[in-house]
């Protein structure tokens, strides 16, 4: 079974993307993206629809194979690796279109999230060896911890599909956290949430950062993004438009013109 890697020494950015290109047939979805996400920060990626944000995520996770460029995560080159190997290196993500396991309960979903921390194989499972029994206990405990971090403890035994939409999104986050990732990719976590839920989400993301996980966030909800992020990357038509702190980005005329509009200033 896989073993989680020992983190490299501090100083180098956790994620370093260089000249990333992604084309589909004739369409250049990503036209040479370069940026660095330092460890321990919340790094947001914003931009109009079609700018390439989710494509970038999919390329980082290994669902798409980039046509050029490099992705270095914790010193490892990610290009060419399938998603399950990238996950083993310490990356986790949530999905824009909810990808919960609706055929399982909430806690079972999160226990799957612990997959990389599990050791026992098929044969041991079939024979219900003592190691399996002990591991089931451990997995349950870990899953419960992740659920607690996300305020979902009372929903543990419910079928995942029975929850309200906002809570389902939180289950996805809990599931991603259960793997104890070093980098968490959140793909539009606030989509479909009301204001109260969005506030709770903001709190949760802050808690996640406090626990030592680096967060990469794609989001359209500007108050959330500006309020919670440490650094921003603005994409437009598959290229990097600007990079900087929320204050810098809001002041950048190019970003205002392409995406933000000048009407509102968000609290940083």
């Amino acid at each position: 079974m896989t073993v989680l890697p020992v983190p490299t020494s501090g100083g180098a950015p956790l994620l370093a993307v260089e000249g990333l290109e992604q084309s589909f047939g004739g369409i250049m979805a990503l036209a040479g993206i370069s940026f660095q996400a330092p460890e321990g920060l919340i790094y947001a990626i914003i931009g109009p629809n079609g700018a390439g944000k989710t494509t970038l995520f999919n390329a980082l996770c290994g669902f798409y194979q980039p046509s050029a460029g490099s992705i270095r995560f914790d010193g490892h080159e990610l290009r060419g690796l399938p998603p399950y190997r990238i996950a083993a290196l310490g990356m986790a993500r949530t999905f824009q279109n909810l990808q919960l396991f609706f055929n399982m309960t909430v806690i079972e979903n999160v226990m799957v999230g612990c997959h990389l921390r599990a050791r026992t194989g098929l044969l041991a499972a079939a024979l219900r060896l003592p190691s399996v029994r002990r591991e089931e206990q451990r997995l349950r405990t870990w899953a419960s911890e992740a659920l607690e971090l996300c305020d979902l403890t009372d929903r543990a035994e419910q079928p995942a599909g029975a929850l309200p939409y906002g809570l389902m999104k939180r289950v996805e986050i809990a599931r991603a956290l259960a793997a104890k990732p070093r980098l968490l990719l959140l793909d539009e976590p606030a989509a479909g949430l009301n204001d109260t839920e969005t506030l709770a989400l903001r709190e949760l993301i802050t808690r996640i950062r406090a626990s030592g996980v680096t967060v990469l966030l794609v989001e359209h909800h500007m108050p959330l993004v500006m309020g919670v992020s440490d650094q921003l990357l603005v994409l437009d038509y598959g290229s990097v438009l600007a990079e900087g702190t929320p204050a810098e980005i809001q002041a950048d005329p190019r970003v205002v013109a392409a995406y933000l509009g000048g009407a509102v200033q968000y609290a940083v």
């Binding site: 989710t54 999919n58 669902f63 999905f95 824009q96 279109n97 990808q99």
Partner: protein, 291 residues
């Protein structure tokens, strides 16, 4: 040698036309409902057996053929109305099992009515084989080819030029959107079943003079028709036709050149190979999923 090859070609296209018609039936119902109708082969069997029974009762061939086709269409409509419609919200797998149940039911009815004997129809225009090039062609084969070409052209025109046909296609692309623009999906479904049953029946009547029909005749035919639809890319009606002809050709060539005992294995090996190299059939839409 070339003569032999030509002979195989003729056999292959004849059989392939049959598979094409059955495959077309599969594609129609799949388009309207995402369901593979495993009773499709039984429509073929029913068409043949009813025609045989009517001819045996004294009816002239043409009338028997028409009556058999109509009766089979009725069977198809009844199947849709009483077995498929009540299970409207069921999963695809459940509905497939229902069609399997229907297939068994229809086979049981045939067994009851006509026993286990083999029957056949008199050929439409005599038994004197025609010499074409170096090959011997049964006149019935020409009937099979001719009627198939006609039917495929009609179905093609139906889809491309008539409103009900386009509505049926719309259902296959996006059922909810089709409903949103006012297409009565239920009627479309019934239309699809009726049409498939009709196509199947005609195929059965066409082939009855060449092969022997029995209550079980629908099973392998249904399978080959399904294979044709898959090879062509399920949901693509013209693809099913192409797939059927291809399948028939390869099967005849395999039977002739390699071994006739293994011909079914060769046919399905071909299908497997197609799927390995083209996971959604030769002309099927690629399945895309948004993440």
């Amino acid at each position: 040698m070339l003569d032999q090859l030509f002979q195989f070609l003729v056999t292959g296209i004849t059989v392939g036309s049959l598979y094409a018609l059955v495959g077309l039936g599969f594609a129609l119902i799949y388009n309207a409902s995402d369901v593979v109708n495993f009773a499709q082969g039984e429509f073929v069997m029913l068409g043949a057996m009813i025609a045989i029974a009517l001819v045996g009762a004294g009816l002239p061939l043409v009338l028997a053929a028409i009556a058999a086709t109509l009766l089979t269409i009725v069977a198809g409509l009844l199947l849709e109305r009483f077995a498929i419609e009540p299970a409207k919200g069921a999963s695809v797998v459940t509905t497939i099992i229902i069609t399997i149940g229907a297939a068994i039911f229809l086979r049981g009815v045939a067994l009851l009515l006509w026993g286990k004997d083999f029957h056949s129809l008199p050929p439409f225009s005599g038994e004197v084989p025609i010499q074409l090039g170096g090959a011997t062609v049964l006149p019935q084969s020409l009937w099979v080819l001719g009627v198939t070409v006609l039917l495929v052209a009609l179905v093609r025109a139906f889809f491309n030029r008539t409103l009900p046909g386009k509505a049926l296609l719309a259902c296959s692309f996006n059922r909810i959107a089709a409903q949103a623009v006012g297409i009565n999906v239920r009627v479309m479904l019934r239309l699809a079943y009726g049409l498939s049953a009709g196509l199947g029946a005609i195929a059965g009547i066409l082939i009855a003079p060449i092969t022997f029909s029995s209550y079980e005749a629908g099973v392998m035919l249904g399978l080959k028709g399904f294979s044709a639809a898959i090879v062509g890319g399920i949901g693509n009606p013209m693809g099913a036709v192409a797939g059927g002809v291809l399948l028939g050709l390869l099967e005849a060539l395999g039977a002739g050149l390699i071994s006739s005992g293994y011909k079914d294995a060769i046919a399905f090996l071909f299908v497997l190979l197609v799927l390995f190299f083209s996971p959604t059939g030769l002309f099927g839409h690629k399945i895309a999923e948004r993440v």
